[in-house]
């Protein structure tokens, strides 16, 4: 017996997904983020008298609309924490830090942020901390650069602590929520890095394209040939494993005329975009038609791929000069 040929290495390539969502702010979030820009921390009061920082626009218990803003202190108490020895990209500090939930003085709920501390031994639940403001503030949660230890007093709510409840900063103060030049939106930037691998079937397809061949796969059950193959027959729900070379020529089954120039696309309009059934394929793929005036493209036109130097797929398809295909020959593929 001879050893079976080892399957070709699957392809992989970096895939970066970046999305800057533009989000508008409601009145409460706008006031809160405008406040951070101006070094003021606002919370919202519920009808039960709870002060929520960061503020929300609807009471999580009653669903009541919340609009009554109060100012709280930039100091507070750690309610729980976790030591992050290996900060990840984009996190608030590049050096080891503690994630903390902090109940600011005057607030009844806690805010999540980073605490700059020399090591885990310097962090405890109940420790006092204060906001370290970012040098440049734009109206975002990152206007708080992080928290830092503050040994002002042990517990502001402890009546036996003489500096506690007596501290005027501990009582929330009503605030109009009005700021000059209020922040009304944020841009939520995100970037995720992947290593994309297309799997067995599409790897075979892409590898064949590198040799300027088009390879589909046949369903073992219904015998249809899929191009490009995705590894499964959508009719039978079984794997397609039998590779079949198709084309290179094919037939235009249907088309449209594109009249609007896409951004960064170097193709003169109008042009024709078509479904092309390659010879031997049971599914049409997409392609641009060139080498013929746009208004002379028609269903049944016989075309062949045109490759450009270094191109990883056909640049476009042009007429072969053969007579048009009979409608009956491709009507099932439209």
């Amino acid at each position: 017996m001879t050893a079976a040929a080892s399957p070709p290495e699957v392809l992989r390539a970096p895939l970066v997904v970046e999305f800057p969502f533009t989000r508008s702010l409601g009145p409460v979030q706008s006031a809160f983020l405008s406040g951070l820009r101006d070094r003021v921390v606002l919370g919202v009061t519920t009808s039960a008298g709870t002060v929520m920082v960061p503020p929300v626009e609807y009471d999580p218990v009653t669903a009541e609309e919340l609009r009554e803003l109060v100012e709280v202190a930039p100091t507070g108490t750690v309610t729980t924490w976790a030591w992050n020895g290996s900060p990840r990209p984009h996190q608030p500090l590049g050096t080891p830090f503690a994630w903390v939930l902090v109940r600011l003085d005057g607030a009844d709920t806690a805010i999540l942020h980073a605490l700059d501390a020399p090591g885990p031994e310097a962090v405890t639940t109940g420790m006092r901390v204060r906001i370290r403001w970012a040098a440049e503030r734009v109206g975002a949660i990152t206007d708080i650069a992080c928290f830092e230890p503050a040994d002002d007093r042990t517990d502001p709510t402890d009546p036996t602590d003489p500096t506690g409840s007596a501290d005027p900063a501990a009582a929330p103060v009503p605030h109009s929520g009005t700021f000059a030049d209020p922040v009304t939106g944020i841009v939520a930037e995100a970037r995720l890095d992947y290593t994309y691998s297309p799997g067995r079937a599409q790897t075979a397809y892409i590898n064949a394209l590198a040799e300027r061949r088009t390879v589909g796969e046949r369903c073992p059950s219904c015998h249809k040939v899929y191009v490009p193959p995705r590894g499964a027959c959508p009719t039978c729900g079984v794997a397609t494993t039998d590779q079949v070379e198709v084309g290179p020529a094919g037939t235009v089954t249907t088309f449209c005329i594109v009249n609007i120039k896409a951004k960064n696309l170097d193709i003169e309009v109008p042009y024709v975009y078509a479904h092309i059934a390659l010879d031997g394929a049971d599914l049409a793929l997409h392609g641009r038609i060139g080498g013929i005036p746009y208004d002379q493209v028609r269903m049944g036109l016989r075309v062949e791929p045109v490759w450009t130097d270094g191109g990883r797929h056909p640049d476009h398809y042009r007429p072969t000069g053969e007579p048009d295909a009979d409608y009956d020959a491709y009507k099932e593929l439209i």
Binding site: P89, L101, L112, I141, A201, R230, T235
Partner: protein, 355 residues
């Protein structure tokens, strides 16, 4: 017949299958990973794809790095000619809930539910930050381990656990997984270094790729397709406020309420399959459900042994049902979670016919 019937129709899990859960599956596209699992549940029931009344799946575009990624796996269910189909951008346990509702309406007698996730192409800790509040949390990129670690610290501070007890949860889970050929981590696993303290490697789930599928059937169809159907005698899911600082992280009132609505507290269970990706979360769930030592918790190894994103919750229901199918359990509870620190919770109670 189920001992209690609180719904219009009796619906049971009649088949369950899962892939081997692996750190990477580069050679497989999603549909290539899902198809064997679909074929396995169909073969177990003898149903053909075209005979299924409703199909529902759970997966995530953020894991795939691609919009509408679930459409790619539809090829694997034989979606042509057109089928009745839906999708949730969540764990497949919620797809199962949707399918169960569809059967309750009488519009279907059988349903195929599947779920899958490939975490290997990206960094799942970073990817999951994108599901957080975009105003107050996501810009800080707090990863899933960090948020779980905050919850673990809160539990330790409250005296409800300690690091040794957490390590024991992981060790018990991986030891149980010795009998689970699909699990990613089996047997003895080093507790390891702190990932985000107080959580160590052994307190965290493995990152991996995997898929699962379940077939649901109503009444006589269920009896025809399965010798001992796992009747869903109760199912409910609940959610808590999204602000982490608003919640008591040492408790899970949403799990308790869902369990109450599902009739969980009406009678004892012998088995619990809990979706607790972090050892500390098992502590929270045991308390919410009031589970005692007489209940076998995560005999499959649970999410600490294999945690394919979007499938791990459905697998809990499948594992509980499979124990009923083979007579190892009479009344089991299955739990699924989604979001940070057990934000959303689904509870299903499954029962087998008594001899």
């Amino acid at each position: 017949m189920p001992t209690t019937s609180r719904y219009a129709r009796d619906v049971a899990v009649v088949a369950f299958a899962q892939s081997d859960h692996l750190r990477r599956t580069d050679e497989l596209s999603e549909v290539e990973m899902v198809m064997p699992v679909l074929h396995e549940v169909l073969a177990a029931t003898g149903l053909k794809a075209g005979e299924i009344g409703f199909t529902c799946s759970g997966s995530s575009d953020y894991l795939a790095g691609r919009a509408f990624s679930f459409t790619m796996t539809l090829d694997g269910v034989g979606a042509w000619p057109p089928i009745s189909e839906s999708h949730v951008e969540m764990d497949g346990a919620w797809a199962l809930y949707e399918a169960w509702v569809k059967i309750q309406t009488g519009e279907a007698d059988t349903a195929l539910v599947y779920a899958y996730g490939k975490s290997s192409p990206g960094s799942v800790r970073d990817v999951l930050t994108r599901q957080l509040d975009p105003y107050y949390l996501a810009p800080l990129w707090p990863d899933s381990v960090a948020l779980a670690a905050l919850q673990a610290r809160a539990l330790i501070d409250a005296g409800q656990t300690d690091e040794a007890a957490l390590a024991a949860v992981g060790a018990r889970s991986r030891a149980a997984a010795r009998h689970n050929p699909h699990a990613q981590l089996r047997g003895s696993v080093a507790q390891g270094d702190y990932q985000v303290a107080p959580l160590r490697t052994g307190d965290c789930p493995p990152v991996g790729d995997g898929a699962a599928a379940v077939i649901l059937a109503a009444g006589d169809s269920a009896r025809r397709l399965c010798e001992r159907p796992a009747w869903i005698t109760g199912i409910d899911h609940r959610i808590e406020a999204h602000g982490l600082g608003l919640r008591d992280l040492t408790d899970s009132p949403s799990t308790r309420l869902a369990a109450e609505r599902a009739g969980f507290f009406d009678a004892p269970v012998d088995t619990a399959e809990l979706h607790a990706p972090f050892s500390s979360q098992e502590v929270v769930l045991r308390k919410a459900l009031g589970l005692g030592d007489e209940v076998t918790v995560n005999p499959s190894g649970g999410a600490l042994a294999a945690n394919p994103m979007m499938a791990a919750g459905l697998i809990r229901i499948g594992e509980a049902a499979a124990r009923i199918h083979r007579g190892a359990s009479d009344r089991a509870v299955a739990h699924a979670t989604s979001g940070p620190c057990l934000q959303q919770n689904l509870v299903a109670v499954l029962e087998g016919d008594r001899a």
